[in-house]
């Protein structure tokens, strides 16, 4: 399978924070969910891919092209939503159409206005009057309207209500109906990712902690809930991390089927991405 995005040994040093050897690949036609705490390095990684930050090392290829050398060519086919809004507040959505027409060769005004009406966004009101959710929708509409092949979205669903999130998720799934298109999507709303992400990349403290297909994570991983005496009987190599709460032990295991085969009738819960993040970061071994 061909990769639309390849990140190899990406590193970047700030005072007090370091991105260390980030590597991952995103195949064509797939959605990758990017998760991690605030400050883990998600946005820095995304900004490096887009070549917005400087002085990083490593190799990044988008559509097989070098992200620094072929910067212009790449941006033509990438749709971006960043966490911080980049439109001046005095603009109205109509202005954005005029600006983008001159920016992107493939800008599709009809598509843009279709998204505006789908999202119930006014064409003639200044952005400063928009709510947080409306701004997000405007950014998403803009990101999609030049027929990109890769969407890079940093927290695209934050600030959206459940109904709007649903609409947006539908649009993302429509987007990958074309097998040539992929999405890299960072989100704290992990339930959104559980539904649509093919791959999960989990970044913590500037390093990749875990990289798996979402199916494998949700299907195989589990949380064993047990008493202290049961926990003491467990082999250290049979679990990833554990956390002690007031009433029980929560133990993260990589393969719940094999675990229950070995240890019998423990209570094993199916895992959510949220549980996984909490146990990986707060848990101990």
């Amino acid at each position: 399978m061909e990769n639309i995005l390849e990140v190899k040994n990406l590193s970047k040093k700030y005072t007090g924070f370091e991105l260390k050897n980030i590597s991952f690949e995103l195949p064509k036609g797939m959605i990758m969910g990017f998760i991690g705490e605030n400050g883990a390095g998600k946005t820095t990684t995304i900004k490096a891919i887009l070549d917005i930050i400087k002085n990083y090392t490593g190799e990044i290829k988008v559509f097989g092209l070098d992200n620094r050398k072929d910067d212009k060519k790449i941006k033509e086919d990438v749709g971006v939503v960043l966490d911080d809004m980049f439109f001046p507040e005095i603009l109205i959505p109509n202005d954005i159409n005029s600006i983008m027409k001159d920016t992107y060769k493939n800008w599709d005004s009809n598509l843009y206005f279709k998204y505006l009406s789908d999202f119930d966004l006014p064409k003639n009101k200044q952005i400063k009057t928009f709510s947080k959710g409306m701004r997000k929708k405007l950014e998403i509409a803009t990101a999609l309207s030049h027929h990109p092949k890769l969407l890079i979205l940093d927290e695209p669903t934050s600030g959206l209500d459940p109904i709007a999130r649903n609409e947006v998720i539908d649009i993302f799934q429509d987007f990958i109906q074309n097998e040539e298109c992929s999405i890299l999507l960072s989100s704290h709303i992990t339930t959104d990712l559980e539904h649509i992400a093919d791959y999960i990349t989990f970044i913590n403290n500037g390093e990749i902690l875990l990289q798996k297909t979402c199916d494998e994570l949700l299907g195989k991983y589990g949380i064993v809930k047990c008493t202290e005496s049961e926990f003491k009987k467990m082999d250290k190599s049979d679990f990833i991390k554990y956390r002690k709460t007031k009433y029980e032990y929560e133990v993260l295991v990589e393969n719940k089927k094999e675990f229950s085969k070995k240890y019998g009738n423990n209570t094993i819960d199916k895992i959510t991405l949220e549980d996984l993040m909490v146990l990986m970061i707060k848990g101990v071994k």
């Binding site: 036609g29 959605i31 799934q173 109906q177 791959y199 297909t213």
Partner: protein, 125 residues
């Protein structure tokens, strides 16, 4: 085609899809030669990832229920009743295996197990 996905059952979603399509094929609700929805359409409609539907289809191909015609799509295969039967036997063997493991762990004799099986069969009648 109706497929009902439970997000809380603990059964992996690809398996739920696979099993439900199998049932539809065995019960002739899906006829041999019928074109199944594409991996991507199905993922979108079920609101799951593409890899999930791909896994489900690949397993259906492996089990002989579905044919993959490259660049055309996935079609319902002519299901060999023997294959279907064999598969049910495998499933039973798997379940019995778990039962035997528990029995051995708890020193329950083969005789007791046989008796249990006899009783269960009698109940069925």
């Amino acid at each position: 085609m109706e497929i009902i996905i439970s997000n809380s059952s603990g059964v992996p979603i690809y398996e739920q899809i696979k099993e439900q399509i199998k049932v539809k094929i065995v019960s002739n609700e899906l006829q041999a030669g019928e074109l199944l929805p594409s991996i991507r359409t199905l993922a979108k409609d079920l609101r799951c990832s593409v890899i999930t539907t791909k896994n489900a289809y690949e397993e259906l191909v492996k089990d002989g229920y579905v044919r993959n015609v490259p660049s055309k799509g996935f079609y319902v295969a002519e299901v060999n009743k023997e294959v279907a039967h064999e598969e049910q036997l495998n499933k039973i063997e798997g379940l019995l295996d778990s039962a035997v493991t528990i029995a051995k762990m708890n020193n329950i004799s083969k005789k007791t197990m046989n008796e249990m099986l006899d009783i269960l069969y009698e109940e069925e009648k």
